[in-house]
Amino acid sequence: MADQQLPVSEITDMDTLLKGLWKENPVFVQVLGMCPVLAVSNSVVNCLVMGLATTFVLIMSSIFVSSFRKLIPKQVRIATYILIIATFVTVADYVIPAISLEVHKSLGAFIALIVVNCVILGRAEAFSSRNTLGKSVLDAVGMGIGFTFAILCLGVVREVLGNGTFAGIPLFGPDFEPWVVMILPGGAFFVLGGWLLLFNWLRERGAQKEKAKAS
């Protein structure tokens, strides 16, 4: 439906893919899916697994939602989307412990909680249900990468400062005094607040520059 409304020439495939990374980053710009971002970002490995699992669910659910978009009745669409998402989250929930039991333990219930990650339902409703299969997959990949990028931004800061390590490798030698607050829940809020500030500042500066150019 949206295909007809928007001229295809205006939005290229590359734009669809890249907008998730920066212009419409799900975490920093749309402020969606905060719970997993805050909760599992205490180590780089956790972040990577969480990001990949979310990307997987995003891609698979967008494939199904956009393939069946003409068959799903409007009234029950949200329930259908949730069922599709829950199916793939269950798959992820069983695959991850098969690969690494340790990571699954440290992520705990948060793998299962991908079901209620608003990024995924949001993309299903706002994009996949209105666009062709190819475009939806591109959008899902872009959003997934954007989400992984955002969660890694937090994870790197928190692990390096809070533990003195990067993905388990010590960085600063034995004399480093870890900033315990970064590993604590409070640290997650502070780091995310800090990143949001930085991005707001960058965007503000960009807008001002454009204004100066225009005048």
Partner: protein
């Protein structure tokens, strides 16, 4: 069966491991609906109520799944049953208590896909709480959520009067405040044995 005492479960869910500030569940409404104390209180009430309903449902489903031996259906059946139960309860309230419906109203359907609700259901299953323990856990989690969101709304109402630089406005300052709140809630650690 878990052997934790009822009192400990309540204090633990409400204060020590507060759902919002230390388990990071239900962050979306925490940011979205915390602008006014009045709405925040109602939101808290609605969440507590939905938690109660879903806790009962989750307990029931878990027993059924144990009998038919199908743990892989857990996630799907939780979310579907909780969503429909909330819908039913919403219709029921609308019919029998319009005043209560107006107070909780629009929040009820939104809450269903809130991670705090599903998180609660999963946690109570993982920890193998029995029926009474589950109910107390849900109540504690609801009270904890209400406490956090009301405190946040109070701070944000005061914040309206303060002069903030443009880039701090919005989510960024809320995050920093939440961080400070979270640190202060750490002070409850060790409470209740």
């Amino acid at each position: 069966m878990s052997s934790e005492s009822i009192g400990f479960i309540f204090v633990n869910a409400a204060l020590i491991n507060n759902f919002v500030l230390s388990a990071f569940l239900g962050i979306c409404p925490f940011i979205g609906v915390s602008k006014k104390i009045d709405t925040a209180t109602r939101m808290g009430m609605a969440v507590t109520f939905v938690m109660f309903v879903s806790s009962v449902c989750a307990y029931g489903i878990h027993q059924v799944l144990l009998i038919i031996n199908a743990p892989y259906l857990q996630l799907i059946s939780y979310i579907v049953v909780i969503a429909s139960a909330v819908q039913l309860v919403e219709m029921f309230i609308k019919k029998f208590s319009p005043a209560l419906f107006r107070a909780l109203g629009i929040f009820l359907p939104l809450i269903t896909t809130n991670c705090a609700i599903l998180g609660l259901a999963l946690f109570q299953t993982n920890r193998q709480y029995d029926f009474l323990q589950s109910l107390v856990y849900a109540l504690g989690a609801g009270v904890g959520f209400t406490l956090a969101i009301v405190i946040m709304a109070g701070i944000r109402e005061e914040l309206e009067l303060a002069e903030l630089p443009d880039i701090v406005k919005g989510t960024a300052i809320v995050m920093v405040i939440a961080g400070i709140l979270s640190l202060s809630f750490m002070g409850f650690a060790g409470l209740g044995g």
